[in-house]
């Protein structure tokens, strides 16, 4: 260790310019690598946040019919739904679902509710607190590839909570069986009994635990019942093609305007910009690495005479190699640690107003990983360089010195 420190002192005093250059380059390279990592993560997160916002917005698209009376906006001022003066009927919606079976947009899920004007629904609704006139009838459709038809939305089926009885099976949901699942506040004595609904007899098969609406298979309903809004449910990305297919197919079945909340799409120029910044960050790291490689190579070349003298005076190649590696790594580790501290406490606060996600890209683990990669890379590169140069004899090294 004494010799290593002596060598470093010797290097600093005898080749001051090279030593200063070495340290400066190391500092610049370490800062560049740290910054490149932060910048890369920042723009990745910005790109992801943008996509997430678009996906979230497009996951709650509404469709309404007729002339627009009012447009509702969200907190960002984007249109979230319309209040219109017309509706689609049960028969038309079944026709629409039949038409889209072979289209790409069949992978989209649809949900809608029917306000029941049938008074028979009311007599089974015990709750007097609810101001709404009638319990709604909800439908949630998703295309099932096994059944090859639109049936109950899979996710809903997995999560539905029934307190007594059971829910529909997928086949029952699209059948014309007169069965009903009742609202939560209905009389439990009705289970398996027949009740009057919509002018027909329906057998009660279950009760919702919390929800105060009833559900029946859509084919049992009068085709002229009206549906004011359709919500699009989609766990996957809704493409523009699907969006316009849905719109065009709905137009084919209704005679009024079809109003869909605007489809949000990524600004492609922004995405391209984020991608370019990400690649730029990688390029910055690459230049830093090349810079360091040139520097180390030069320093090793400079030490050829010294290396040859060590070999002549009895040192082994491995011992000399270890000395050199330790010498360079000591300086590099010291520089890296100082730069990390300076970067974390001085530079990140300055960068945060410009790159909002940059501070979250760094933690102790990240620094430790970067340190590990940095040291490993230096170790490997120097080892290879020394091994390559130590294949020559001390005489050859002395002849080549200064080259």
């Amino acid at each position: 260790m004494t010799y290593i420190l002596k060598n470093i002192k010797c290097f600093a005093t005898k080749s001051t310019m090279v030593f200063v250059l070495f340290v400066l380059c190391e500092i610049a390279s370490v800062f560049s690598i740290l910054f490149a990592h932060g910048s890369y993560n920042n723009f990745q997160r910005e790109k992801f946040a943008e996509k997430q916002y678009i996906d979230d917005a497009n996951n709650s698209l509404d469709i309404s019919f007729g002339n627009i009376i009012e447009a509702f906006t969200d907190e960002k001022g984007n249109v979230s739904s319309y209040n219109c003066d017309s509706a689609i009927t049960v028969k038309q919606i079944q026709q629409f679902l039949g038409n889209i079976e072979r289209k790409e947009c069949r992978s989209v899920g649809f949900a809608f509710c029917i306000e029941n004007n049938d008074e028979s629904c009311m007599k089974y609704n015990k709750s007097s607190e609810i101001e709404q006139s009638m319990p709604m009838t909800y439908f949630r459709f998703d295309y099932d590839k096994k059944i090859k038809d639109f049936t109950i939305y899979d996710d809903f089926l997995k999560n539905v909570i029934i307190s007594d009885g059971r829910y529909f099976t997928k086949e029952e949901y699209i059948s014309d069986k007169n069965i009903v699942v009742m609202p939560a506040d209905s009389d439990r004595d009705l289970l398996n009994k027949e009740i009057d609904l919509f002018g027909k007899k329906y057998r009660v098969i279950g009760f919702f635990k919390q929800d105060n609406y009833l559900e029946v298979p859509i084919k049992t309903l009068d085709g002229n019942l009206k549906i004011k809004y359709i919500n699009i449910l989609n766990n996957d990305v809704l493409t523009s093609k699907m969006y316009y297919q849905i719109r065009d197919e709905l137009r084919n079945v209704v005679n009024v305007d079809v109003n869909m909340t605007p489809l949000k799409s990524l600004d492609l120029y922004e995405v391209k910009f984020f991608d370019s910044m990400i690649y730029l960050s990688i390029a910055v790291a690459l230049v830093s690495a090349i810079n360091l490689a040139i520097l180390f190579r030069y320093i090793l070349n400079l030490r050829r005479k010294q290396f040859a003298i060590f070999l002549i005076t009895g040192s082994t190649k491995n011992k000399t190699r270890r000395m050199y590696i330790l010498e360079i790594m000591l300086v590099s580790i010291f520089v890296f640690l100082i730069c990390c501290l300076a970067y974390n406490f001085l530079i990140i606060p300055i960068l945060t107003p410009f790159l909002k996600y940059i501070s979250s890209a760094y933690d102790l683990k990240t620094y430790a990983i970067m340190f590990g990669i940095y040291i490993s890379a230096i170790y490997i590169f120097i080892n290879i360089s020394i091994i390559l140069s130590s294949r020559k004899s001390p005489v050859e090294l002395l002849r080549e010195r200064g080259k």
Partner: protein, 430 residues
């Protein structure tokens, strides 16, 4: 000297290639950094002078374009109106059924698409990204009567296709006619007009001034709102754009539409301007903003975007400087012994400097080749956007600045070192 410079280059070929690679990557970073800055202002620069007016208004949508268009044409305080035009008397249709059967009445009347026309001045403000073909003002018609247009990307019409648009000629109906209608006492002749597609605008490319069907959210309006994008699948909003000259030659009427940039006379007072704003809102203008507010919002937006680039630009500059200085310094140091021996053999320091200079020039030329090669590879592989690797005057100037810095350092450093030491000192030092 050139021979010696070349020899010097070949003798240190690996070292020089390494330096050339480093310089090439540095140049790529510099080009990408400059391009990033320019890309942030790509949509602002064309409209900066247009919206930089003290007295003016931007109307982003009007409920009834015909009424609004009529009202603003009559307003005496209006100096100039810059907007696209809609040609309502010329229509086309996406319906296969109507087009195949040449059913002109239905092409005109059943959910038709209207045609937009742009003056040359308007079309030259910003040229959108084309999928193929040429933009309106880049196309040279074969003769003055050629009817051509540009269309946004759509599933039906492609480059060099011909669209059959229909114009309706209104004539007074004969009251004795069996189908005479007192409420609409006209008959219509439907005349087809073939329009050749000379360019297709890429899907989601930004087009200046022409409105899509999207509604405006309640956000701070800036220059970005002057541009719209169009979906390929949304045939309701597909835009067929003709040149104003073509529409004039066809003898068709057109009115202002979409986004209106209204320049008012400079001598009107603020009160008068408020009155005009109120008047426009009463005449169906929906979203309206004074141009000076638009300019202020736009500057704030652009500055905010450019500020985000500062860290990466600063990092790139520092890296470029440090790498230039370090590589040239180390390079010179390495060659000192060689130059000392040449001096002893009869050469002058100046000759050595020239040899060094030539060596650097060759390395620089090699780095230029590597840079161009890398950029082409990146473009072919579609790894980065073309706009980020585009080479224009700004990028060339930046690269030239880097070369000059590189060459100056690599020329100055040997001078400093060689002039301070004798060849004996340099040789014994080694």
């Amino acid at each position: 000297m050139i021979k010696y410079g070349l020899k010097e280059f070949v003798n240190n070929i690996y070292s020089n290639i390494f330096i050339a690679i480093q310089l090439a990557v540095t140049l790529v970073i510099a080009i990408a950094s400059v391009s990033s800055v320019l890309s942030r202002t790509e949509f602002y620069t064309p409209v900066k002078n247009i919206i930089n007016q003290k007295k003016g208004l931007l109307v982003l949508s009007a409920d009834d374009e015909a009424i609004f268009s009529d009202e603003i044409s009559k307003e005496k305080s209006v100096d100039k109106i810059l907007s696209p035009y809609t040609v309502k008397s010329l229509r086309y249709n996406f319906s296969d059924e109507y087009n195949k059967d040449a059913n002109y009445k239905y092409i005109y009347g059943e959910k038709p698409n209207y045609i937009t026309c742009l003056s040359d001045e308007f079309a030259n403000i910003y040229k959108p990204e084309m999928l193929n073909g040429k933009w309106l003002t880049d196309y040279k018609p074969k003769n003055n009567n050629e009817i051509y247009g540009v269309i946004t990307e759509n599933p039906v019409y492609k480059l060099n296709d011909t669209i059959t648009a229909v114009k309706a000629i209104k004539k007074k109906a004969d009251p004795k006619d069996e189908f005479y209608d007192e409420e609409d006492p006209y008959v219509y002749d439907y005349v087809p007009i073939k329009i050749k597609i000379v360019g297709v605008v890429k899907e989601k490319a930004k087009i200046f001034g022409i409105a899509s069907d999207s509604t405006y959210s309640a956000h701070t309006i800036n220059f970005n709102d002057l541009y719209s994008t169009f979906d390929k699948e949304d045939t309701d909003n597909t835009k067929l754009i003709l040149s104003e000259n073509v529409v004039k030659n066809l003898g068709l009427d057109y009115n202002y539409s979409d986004k209106y940039i209204i320049k008012l006379k400079d001598n009107i007072s603020d009160n008068k301007m408020s009155e005009i704003e109120m008047n426009m809102k009463n005449n169906s203008a929906e979203i309206l903003i004074p141009l000076k507010d638009l300019m202020s919002n736009s500057s704030d937006f652009v500055n905010g975007e450019l500020i985000k680039l500062i860290p990466i630009l600063v990092c790139s500059i520092i890296l470029v400087m440090i790498s230039s200085i370090s590589t040239t310094a180390l390079n010179v140091k390495k060659k000192l012994k060689y130059y000392s021996i040449m001096y002893i053999c009869g050469s002058r320091w100046n000759s050595c400097l020239i040899i060094n200079f030539i060596n650097n020039i060759i390395t620089t030329l090699l780095s230029i080749l590597l840079t161009i090669l890398s950029l082409n590879i990146l473009n072919i592989l579609n790894i980065v956007d073309v706009s980020i690797t585009a080479i224009n005057i700004s990028q060339i100037l930046t690269c030239a600045a880097i070369f000059i810095v590189n060459i100056i350092f690599s020329s100055i450093m040997p001078i400093v070192i060689m002039k301070r030491n004798t060849p004996k000192e340099i040789l014994t030092d080694n």
